[in-house]
Subunit: 251 residues, 6 copies
């Protein structure tokens, strides 16, 4: 696998340089500006005491997420969804994926009747925006939970975070499995898979799509191998970012 | 695995009774009313000569799909999306999934500059609506392609259908992997996976989600085993339905 | 009047074959799949205990209806209203007509503070969809009211149904009045009238429109004669469907 | 019938005072501010050379109408439909009725490839807004057609207006049929009918609705009698308004 | 400045003829049909006891405004915003301007927990619609407040109106400052300014825009001089309209 | 004026620290991340060869702008306008202001048939977002025009930029005029004015609003004095940013 060199010089099994600027926003209870190479996503976590009316009185919290792209985050300017008056299917799909991924590592009872809304806004897009968003959102979420504990909205002994979670894309290009696809790679991939994995190495989401030719079981297996290795590295970078007492941790 | 009996008496590795009423609609170029147990989906394929303007002149066709549920297809009546003025994220997600699944088995060059729109309307929902929709949509698509050939919009020697495609859900309930979940099973599943497979046994989509606890590699593997067995059976039922010269083929 | 033969061989004063599959849906409290020839409408009645907030405390119930067509119920595929983000004027008009027609035979006090929502979804359209919808909706409504009584939401002595109600279209084609127009007739009609009549033979709605030439009083009178004869037959078919203890009553 | 006196002192068979201020707008090619008692509707007719693209090349014109109410035309302020982002069913229904009524008296071939859009905006509402709108719209339409002829968009020998058209409401209150209902009467009516009639006395639309109790054939007949008498008077007032060379004709 | 004569014969420092028909609407608690030359705006004020939920319990009232144009108030017919399903930026901007202008002269505590909604509907547009709207809206507002006092929703000693408010446009055309621009002037103006001034001569809003060339401080000053003179005259006309006990006061 | 010290220690006539990171985006033809204190706005300029259809063939270009705020740019999270399905009045108003301000310094003939869309997305809001947006947008615009010239879409001798443009807010707080209001100041201001000024010191927009008490001419004059001094400084910072050959110029 190692003879193939990619456009940016990486070997097939390498992540792009990952940067996590924790606490980027002065306003949000938790935030991170994350980069996977040239992909840059601003993730904020907004903590609110209380839950939507339909959940009240169950002693449980709620975590949800919204994803969006700035109109010129892409190479060609896209129309704003607010101007079109509708949210597109892709946006919906990714927002839901991020929300599910984060909820998988939160104990809603331990969170108590509090709501966390995660916003992932893509400032610059170069492939892997959803996986960068999930990885950065986890850091913002962790800080917002800490804020909630500090402000006594969450019990001092409660541990709402069960595990960490990160995500990476993998794909098959010219028959070769590759990790963390940049945009130029993504458009050429025959198969494209996004894998969301907890810090303990368990799967939260496996979403594989044959863009070109259908794939067989062996290919699926090598993609999963790559993804597990990549998310192990991302989990380590998340840990480092959260351990640091300062902003701008470099991966 | 075989000692577990399900609410409807099935063993974990059995499909529900599957029925395909081919040619249900008098209007559409291709159609099928498919049942997976109590789940009933009306699939129609509308053939139009020509493609959207942005595709004109490339010598290629286009296949797209829309999914929707009747308001009282479910146990509690849902508001209509037309009344709400917006299509929800789940609807978007499933429409896109059906479209991608069908495009994976169509050779767009062989289709020529023709458009096929597949509508999958759920008349009654009892789990697995998206997988029933994909499986029925393939039958409608095949008939619409035949119609296009009969009407000389598709070349007589062209073979736009590369393969067949069907889909099934699998999930883990109380630790046990199960095939083709009914609604009561779906809501209890810890992990829920939809798998789209071609007639040759290759994967088109693998979408696994940990609804409850994250899953490990071994669990993923047993789910894939079940899904491949199920789609092999579905492919056979599709073949039978299309081979018949009459409507109302029973699976 | 009897020498004129129509495309389908009927005499001018004959209904198309009418079929009422009572209880088609497993989910709804009342339902009927009704056919007027090739027009097929799925009618479901959803019973909810309670009324909208603005009606609470008045001791009265509410009955409302929504009508829609599947995109490929027609000969040319129509865009979905959910995709367009708006409901068209025709849809609104027919939904309101169905609701008014049903409310005309319900005693809202006897219904008590309960709500019934009728959904009429056209699966296949060949003229007369609104009149088939009203006729089928009455059967679904009657069963939902029975369900409400069985579940003690409606008093055991209350008689919320005052009368039955059915509807039929009539029109003038080449100067001749005709009953129950099929689509090919409808587009040619100079005058088109939808008449909603109770089981006792009283008018609930008379909606006559000159599509081509305006009509005189004599023409109006012969159209009403035809309509009253047609609705008398439909009322009989409704009675038979409701009297039967089984599904799939044939008219 | 004549012993009953109404809130405003009218006998059951009398119209309210009707005023037609022809040419109220300086901008529109035709216009009329019409009053039926306290109901006041501003009708403008906008003439455009050319037709919508889907009609081009057929040598025919098009006439359409839009109806709306100012938010405080009613006793309680209503939200604007522009603010709600949707047009309600009632608005749609009335706009379509006005359009059909006007088209019934226009020879589209004689109009040639020209479009006339009629706007009927209710400035003050006191019952009968749709019938006042149709009656006033006809005057605006006639002037716009004259304008089109003067500007050579319509042939000098063409007679696009086949007939005149007006409309009136009738209803049954406490068992008595009455003409031209004011709002306080309208809300009490058991049956409410809007009748659109040409200058020659032929029906264009008959829309009768049982708001309270269903009605029988004898009641229907007396309502039609009243309506025909009322529209005869309205046709006369339209003629007078159009004959005058000045604005502000009083009926 | 006085040698320049305008299309309508005015000197640069003259208003167009201004008419205020106070109490035009029978329905609204306050109303005025105001004309600035051919610009005609119907202003109604709707008084409601109570405030929106988010303001309850603060002992303060609320005043808000909505502006709209009839589709054929302009020379070319515009599409309705209700039909487009969205309110345009210009409409929003003017609605907000009118609301702010009126609130500047209302003491919300003296108003108490009451809401006034002002609707300004342009029946005919010939430049200066927003300034006519503000000027007429003040008259409607004053009458609605009087109505509130008469009906004991406002304390008998409370004086919710702190001052009067009116507005006028000014602009620079061919280098010359001019007052109250008609439409033909407005489109030629290099700079266009709307100035809202209280009866005491204080500014509420100054909105100057360089449509063509940017403007210097001296130009700004002469525009403000003109505007202050114009609003002094408008304040006098408002006083006269409100002093009169009859409708249709002519300025 | 100088004894008053503000929350952040500034004198009334001082700007907050201003930073312009020119070329922040890798994708856009021109971009700047601008900060006015804690207010941070990402401005991108998208250059497209060609103009909207309605402008084609006039030999002129077009410049337009869109403004938006990220949901958690503010202290309390706001709902996304894309989720609400509508753009609010304030957003529309500011987008239009930015567009007009930029067009005032562009010679559309010199630009030729090219379109520039400016996007101003507020990443963090602390007062003055619209003035920061205009000031940053000018830098992005200048770079996009340079790109257009480099790519031969703009003539080599054409000078589409007539002047520079910047903007600042001023307001009266506790009777004292102040420059460049931070959010905590903005909410307390009696009068709030946004002033857009060209590099040569001419006014493009003057938008003054009495939020609390109306203001007199003397107050207006001192606000304009402050604004002109502030925009002189901003113009200098813009020049420095554009003169630099590197990114991240600090003001």
């Amino acid at each position: 696998m190692t003879d193939i060199t990619r456009a940016d010089g990486r070997t097939p099994d390498r992540l792009r340089p990952v940067t996590i600027e924790r606490g980027w926003s002065r306003q949000a209870e938790g935030s991170a500006l994350i980069s996977f190479g040239n992909t840059r996503v601003l993730c904020t976590a907004s903590f609110t005491n209380g839950v939507p009316r339909w959940m009240t009185g169950k002693g449980k919290g709620w975590v949800t997420a919204e994803y969006a792209m700035l109109p010129r985050s892409t190479n060609e300017r896209m129309d704003r969804e607010s101007v079109k008056g509708r949210i597109g299917g892709r946006t919906h799909e990714i927002s839901r994926l991020i929300g599910r991924s984060l909820r998988a590592v939160v104990d809603m009872k331990a969170l108590g009747e509090n709501t966390i809304v995660i916003d992932c806004d893509v400032l610059q897009a170069d492939g892997g925006t959803r996986t960068a968003a999930i990885t950065g959102a986890y850091v913002a979420l962790a800080d917002a939970l800490e804020w909630g504990r500090d402000h006594r909205f969450i019990g001092q002994k409660a541990t709402p975070l069960i595990d960490s979670v990160s995500a990476v894309s993998v794909g098959i290009i010219d028959g070769a499995p590759m990790l963390d696809l940049a945009y130029v790679e993504d458009v050429r991939a025959e198969t494209d898979m996004n894998v969301v994995v907890t810090g303990r190495g368990l799967f939260v989401e496996v979403q594989g799509t044959a863009e070109g030719a259908p794939f067989d079981r062996a290919e699926l297996n090598s993609l999963l191998d790559l993804a597990l290795a990549g998310t192990t590295d991302l989990a380590e970078l998340q840990r480092a970012a959260l351990a640091s007492s300062e902003l701008g941790i470099e991966g």
